[in-house]
């Protein structure tokens, strides 16, 4: 079926398949070509996956997908595309430099460039800015301030609390105050530094403690729970309490924020934006320009990484580019310099978790009380949802009989914190894991035994927010399997022996679970649309509301559509996300991309397919049950027809070959006021075991080995999913180890570049890195019984933090020492010696 698979051949875009080339569309394709007398359509000839061999067999590889995860659908019928490890649709373009990002789009004639004027202080009254020198600088065409926003000077998604340009007051160091539009980017950047600000500086709130002292919040406090926690704590045989500081995290998407706005006729505006949320960009651009949404189109082919950092945080740059385009009448591009990007875009929320726990002799929790003091920065942004998700994941995988989960959303004079892979969940779960380690240390038990004693189980299966955990057996089985496969008990004994004879180097081991709720907790976002066209040559145009940021969403959804029509994947043309084709979309976030858009695309394709079936039944007098779409043909009775031929006949019979699909997640509901409901359609599970060695003289450490077993249901694409698991784990590891955000006392971010902010590099990933998919179909009727995979693996890295803590415990020999995240070498040394 995919004839070029063996050739290892590669075709540059624009080339045509020669006469001797096997047709990717099979015999039917050849016939069609004879009929039309032309070459194959360009869409087919340029198909990205043509000619690529699938990855080599899994022999010797530890990350192989179990055979049970591919090749057969839930009902036993063979699947040809879904469940297969197809390469990323842009893989060839990535490696040859042909994949276009915003800054690579060929600029329209006359394109101008925008740079930002940023506040030099974190908090104060803004009386004015002297822009004379900026205006006079070479190449400057225009300068924009808050006064130049014709619509609403606000980029916030919901709370009207964050201006495009600061006016009257500044909220954080680096807040945009004005924008320069110039003939070159270099000229704009140089001019932007010539302004003189008149700001009456005030002492900023920078830390959690600053904000608590000032009682400043961006949103009201919120709590939920159940039972009499104080009584349960008082009755518990053992009690512990503690404070865990959890650092934030910079997204460090490799492609910085960028937008290109192209003005059209009569106020139209086309915005190319590197955004996870095109509909919001469209809406807020229109709001700022003071025009209807319908005048604005937002398009994004791909992002060079997002991780949540382009969910709301891409909007401001698109808005400013559009304002500049509107003001000048020329196309305008704004691409942030990396240092500016890191200073002016939000990060993962850092938090201080204050906790108390009561438990029995086996370590089983009776009561848990926790307050998450979240540093939200200068505005609400997505902090309601983020901190709610922290609360939803304060239990992680553990049943908490009496529980009180509280949160404060603190306002500080720092950039507004935002979505980041896991969306608050990681902070809640890390606190839970810390509590498990504290309990184990107090009782002298193995932390894994304490964890297992607290797992959700039948009869102990209700979450603190009232949703019941229906599949408690999945996590139990998964952890059981990982514990055996990673040889946990024997390695624990070996490590204890090693530590006894090694005075300087100490090893640590930890196995931690992940249970992560899938669905947007803002219920209305759980919807998606898709648009599918089948053209007369049998090629298929696919569009949906999801955005591609590298996670492989586009190939997964294309696999679903190819499966639906029984055609080769190369027939399905993946197209850029645009608000003009699929409207009112949700952000590509909450791990929901393939769950939602895969289903919407399947529905759209299914609609067309059903029309083709009805048409076949009508003209060939066959029964619907006899019809099968496969191998680029449609089979019925003893006959078959090339897919393209069927399509042509259908067109001539005036059958509609275009359809939209719409999907909304069933079952979910959430009553925030009551703190009860079923916010999640299902849970994704995983577990990881990490082994580390620390140097007790410097606090440095190495990760020696990681074993991961993760549940993606029946994987839509095991190669893509393993990539998400590995990448998520390593990103989480960075968050908890070397990635340290340092703000100085004036609220300035000191770590605003990769030279000072250290994400993992290749050598930080252990050579012994074993990733396996847990073979288990989703019990919920998701797309081909798969499970979401974007966020959950990040929290597998909690095992690394706990393993480091375990090694510190071995170094001290007197129980668990306070250790905050990130566990930088300095934090580790401080934990070992008490105080530096």
């Amino acid at each position: 079926m995919r004839q070029n698979e063996e050739s290892g051949d590669f075709r540059v875009p624009g080339s045509r398949l020669g006469a001797s080339d096997p047709s990717p569309s099979g015999e039917g394709g050849s016939r069609r070509r004879r009929e039309t007398g032309g070459a194959l359509p360009a869409a087919v000839a340029q198909a990205p996956s043509v000619g690529l061999r699938p990855p080599p067999p899994a022999a010797g590889e530890d990350h192989a997908a179990p055979s049970g995860t591919s090749g057969v659908s839930g009902d036993g019928s063979p699947l040809r595309h879904v469940h297969r490890p197809l390469p990323h649709d842009s893989g060839i373009r990535h490696v040859s430099g042909a994949a276009l990002y915003i800054d690579d789009i060929r600029e329209p004639d006359g394109t101008l460039h925008v740079a930002l004027g940023l506040s030099p202080v974190a908090r104060g009254r803004l009386s004015g800015v002297d822009l004379a020198a900026v205006h006079a600088a070479p190449g400057v065409v225009a300068v924009l301030t808050a006064a130049d926003v014709p619509g609403r000077n606000d980029i916030s998604p919901a709370n009207a609390d964050e201006p495009v340009f600061a006016k009257d007051e500044v909220l954080f160091h680096g807040q945009p105050v004005f924008a320069v539009v110039a003939t070159t980017r270099d000229a704009a950047r140089r001019a932007a530094r010539l302004a003189a600000f008149d700001i009456a500086e005030e002492a900023p709130s920078v830390t959690v403690e600053d904000a608590l002292a000032r009682r400043e919040t961006v949103l009201p406090d919120y709590a939920f729970g159940r039972g009499d926690v104080e009584a349960a704590l008082a009755d518990a045989p053992h009690r512990l309490e503690g404070v865990l500081r959890i650092g934030g995290q910079e997204h460090f998407y490799l492609e910085g924020q960028a937008a290109l706005a192209v003005p059209g006729e009569d106020g139209d505006m086309l915005v190319h934006s590197s955004t996870q949320h095109p509909s919001e960009v469209q809406h807020i651009v229109a709001r700022a320009l003071g025009i209807p949404d319908a005048f604005v189109t937002c398009e994004v082919r791909r992002m060079g990484g997002g991780f949540g950092g382009k969910e709301t945080q891409a909007t401001q740059w698109a808005v400013i580019a559009a304002l500049a385009a509107r003001a000048t009448g020329q196309p305008c591009k704004l691409r942030l310099d990396r240092d500016d990007d890191m200073a002016v875009t939000g990060k993962r929320h850092d938090m201080r978790a204050d906790w108390r726990v009561g438990f029995d002799d086996k370590g089983r929790i009776a009561a848990y009380d926790v307050t998450f003091n979240a540093r939200c920065g200068c505005s609400a942004d997505l902090s309601q949802g983020v901190v709610d998700r922290t609360m939803f994941h304060a239990d992680n995988a553990y049943f908490l009989p009496a529980v009180h989960i509280a949160s404060r959303r603190l306002k500080t004079n720092t950039v507004s914190n935002t979505a980041f892979r896991g969306f608050g969940g990681p902070q809640g779960m890390l606190a839970a894991e810390r509590v498990m380690d504290e309990i184990a240390a107090r009782l002298g038990r193995d932390p894994l035994d304490v964890r297992k004693a607290n797992f959700y189980a039948p009869g102990r299966d209700e979450t603190p927010y009232g949703q019941s955990v229906e599949d408690t057996d999945v996590l139990a089985a998964l952890v059981e399997q990982l514990e055996a496969e990673c040889d946990y008990r024997a390695r624990r004994a070996a490590i204890t022996a090693f530590n006894a004879r090694s005075p300087v180097l100490k090893k640590g081991l930890a196995l931690t679970p992940v249970k992560f709720g899938i669905s947007f907790t803002l219920t209305h976002l759980n919807q998606a649309g898709a648009l599918v066209h089948v053209y007369q040559d049998g090629s298929i145009h696919l569009n949906h509301g999801g955005t591609e940021m590298g996670q492989g969403l586009f190939i997964k959804v294309a696999q679903v559509v190819a499966e639906e029509f029984g055609v080769g994947i190369e027939r399905v043309r993946i197209t850029a996300t645009t608000t003009a084709k699929v409207p009112n979309t949700s952000p590509t976030a909450a791990s929901s991309g393939s769950d939602l858009n895969g289903m919407a695309a399947r529905i759209a394709a299914g609609t067309i397919r059903q029309r083709l079936v009805d048409f076949l039944c009508e003209i060939f007098d066959v029964a619907e049950g006899e019809i099968e779409f496969r191998d680029d043909r449609v089979f019925f009775g003893n006959e078959s027809l090339a897919f393209a031929e069927l399509v042509k006949k259908a067109y001539q019979a005036r059958i509609q070959l275009s359809a939209t699909g719409f999907y909304r997640t069933p079952k979910i509901h959430w009553d925030r006021a009551a703190g009860r409901g079923q916010p999640f359609f299902y849970f994704a599970y995983g577990a990881a075991c990490a082994e580390v060695t620390i140097d007790t003289m410097t606090g440095e450490y190495r990760l020696d080995r990681v074993d991961i077993l993760h549940d993606v249901g029946r994987s839509l694409n095991p190669a893509i999913d393993i990539g998400q698991i590995e990448g998520g784990f390593v990103q989480g590891m960075g968050w908890l180890t070397t990635e340290e955000l340092v703000f100085d006392g004036k609220g300035r971010l000191a770590t605003h570049a990769p030279s000072t902010y250290k994400i993992p590099v290749a050598s930080d990933v252990p050579a012994d890195f074993r990733v396996t998919l847990f073979p288990s179909a989703n019990r919920q009727p998701t797309i081909y019984r798969s499970k979401a995979v974007g966020e959950p693996p990040l929290m597998l890295a909690n095992s690394v933090f706990c393993a480091i803590s375990d090694a510190v415990r071995a170094a001290r020999g007197d129980g668990l020492a306070p250790l905050d995240a990130p566990a930088t070498p300095e934090a580790v040394l401080r934990a070992i010696v008490g105080a530096l």
Partner: protein, 491 residues
């Protein structure tokens, strides 16, 4: 005198005669040539998304090296071939490195991928088959935020296993010929007296030019000067690039000394210094990244005067003499005396570093430790270098100790040295006295890399660790990365 910058691009000679001196290679590629395959990720030579490969003829051999195009000035590619990610696929076939990256699912968002492909290409072109650390070293200067690197490392091994069937070998021969034809010994001067990019071809020409323009910016590798351009937006109207100065890149060994010319790259310095001690090899392995080591130079690292430049403390510990020249005048001084104060060196207007001479350790014991938040491609929080000369009875005859990150300059720990001199190497009390004496030597700062307290404590612990290792002869029990042990085993 040549008035153009001349380099090879896609089999054509490109001559540029009218260009802002500060123009970077990346801007030229993306804005002038409009080749957008090469990406800007950080603009400071750290993320590697802009990695391109420069090929040069070195001693008649074609050498391919990865560099960060974002902080490389266009003039620095004079005489080289510039190879970018768009140039690799030929005749409808991906390069083996590209093919392996696709097959192993080595790209996700794809933005770092062009740089990774180019770093792996440079590795591939060495024709060697490195171990895992060799691969991760080649990738240390390439940040990927999506994949977790596992598939990229796997792709590297796949590609390196396909070198026999290399369909690109013939093209390399053609390039070597074209580069040989480009070669000349002319001084290069592009611009006018007020604004120029100059690349003198001899030390004499350099001395004359710099004396005439003491306000010019000397550029060797531009791994720091590049950031003055991209981040500080410095104008830098007059640039003198040292890369064409004949003989300034010499490596010479004689009478128990090693002399490194000012423009010896950190990559070549690794070979020379690494041969002296495994810790020096490890220090240089972790120095910046492959891209930075290919561009950055010994002279640049010293003359830059950074308190956290790793080379100076190591050289000071070995005992190093710095050589300078101004016009026709030459002088030498102990390296530690060159550093006067934070970012202030003993260098006159128009004076430049020509090289540095170190004493080989011979029988002396060397230990060097670099402590960072992240092991690879990170700037030191504390860097300690130790060199002990022991008498036959095991007492310390001479102690030379220098630290980076502990003061405004790379600095000797003279009080600690005194405390150890004459003591037995395994005298724990003397070691503790020496560690305590560091308080007299240093008053470190708190910054985003580390607190003063951490720096102070680690400085002492590194000294203790060095003494412990030398006294016991055991490195395995104290090292997270067993490079000394590996070296011993190999010997």
């Amino acid at each position: 005198m040549r008035r153009t910058i001349r380099f090879l691009r896609r089999n054509e000679t490109v001559e540029v005669g009218n260009v802002e001196p500060r123009t970077t290679l990346l801007d030229w590629l993306r804005l002038t040539e409009r080749s957008t395959g090469t990406k800007e990720g950080c603009g400071e030579g750290d993320c590697g998304a802009c990695t391109v490969v420069l090929r040069r003829l070195v001693d008649g051999r074609l050498v391919s090296e990865p560099v960060n195009a974002c902080i490389l000035l266009l003039g620095q590619v004079d005489g080289a071939e510039v190879l970018t990610v768009e140039d690799l696929a030929a005749d409808g076939r991906l390069h083996p490195v590209q093919q392996a990256m696709v097959e192993r699912h080595g790209s996700q968002c794809g933005f770092c991928t062009p740089g990774i492909v180019m770093s792996l290409l440079a590795l591939y072109e060495t024709g060697e088959a490195p171990d895992r650390q060799g691969v991760t070293d080649a990738l240390a200067g390439n940040l990927c935020r999506c994949t977790g690197y596992r598939p990229i490392v796997a792709a590297a091994f796949d590609a390196l296993g396909r070198i026999e069937a290399d369909p690109f070998a013939q093209r390399r021969l053609d390039v070597a010929g074209a580069l040989a034809a480009l070669r000349d010994e002319a001084d290069v001067f592009v611009g006018d007296e007020r604004s120029f990019f100059a690349a003198p071809a001899s030390t004499d020409a350099l001395a004359r030019l710099y004396l005439g323009h003491p306000d010019a910016t000397l550029v060797a590798g531009a791994t720091d000067v590049g950031l003055w351009v991209t981040k500080a937006l410095a104008d830098l109207p007059k640039i003198i690039w040292l890369g064409r100065v004949a003989g300034l890149d010499a490596v010479a060994e004689e009478h128990g000394t090693l002399t490194l010319g000012a423009t010896v790259t950190l990559a070549r310095a690794r070979e020379a210094l690494g041969a002296l001690d495994p810790d020096l090899d490890e220090l240089m392995r972790r120095f910046g990244s492959q891209q930075v080591r290919a561009s950055g130079t010994v002279g640049g690292n010293i003359a830059n005067g950074s308190p956290i430049g790793d080379l100076a403390p190591a050289l000071i510990a070995l005992g190093a003499t710095l050589h300078l020249r101004r016009g026709d005048g030459r002088r030498s001084l102990p390296l530690e005396d060159f550093f006067l104060d934070y970012r202030k060196q003993d260098r006159q207007p128009g004076e430049f570093v020509t090289g540095v001479t170190v004493r080989k350790p011979a029988g002396r014991h060397v230990r060097v430790f670099k402590v960072t938040k992240r092991f690879d491609e990170d700037i030191s929080a504390v860097m300690g270098a130790f060199c002990f000369d022991l008498a036959d009875n095991g007492t310390v005859r001479e102690a030379r100790i220098a630290y980076g990150g502990m003061a405004g300059i790379p600095k000797r720990a003279r009080a600690a040295e005194v405390a150890l001199t004459g003591a037995a190497i395994d005298d724990h009390a003397a070691a503790e006295r020496a560690a305590a004496a560091l308080d007299a030597d240093f008053a470190p700062l708190t910054d985003h890399r580390a607190s003063a307290a951490y720096r102070r404590r680690v400085a002492g612990n590194l000294l203790m660790k060095a003494l412990m290792e030398i006294a016991t002869g055991d490195d395995a029990a104290t090292r997270l990365i067993a490079h000394r042990e590996v070296r011993h085993a190999a010997e």
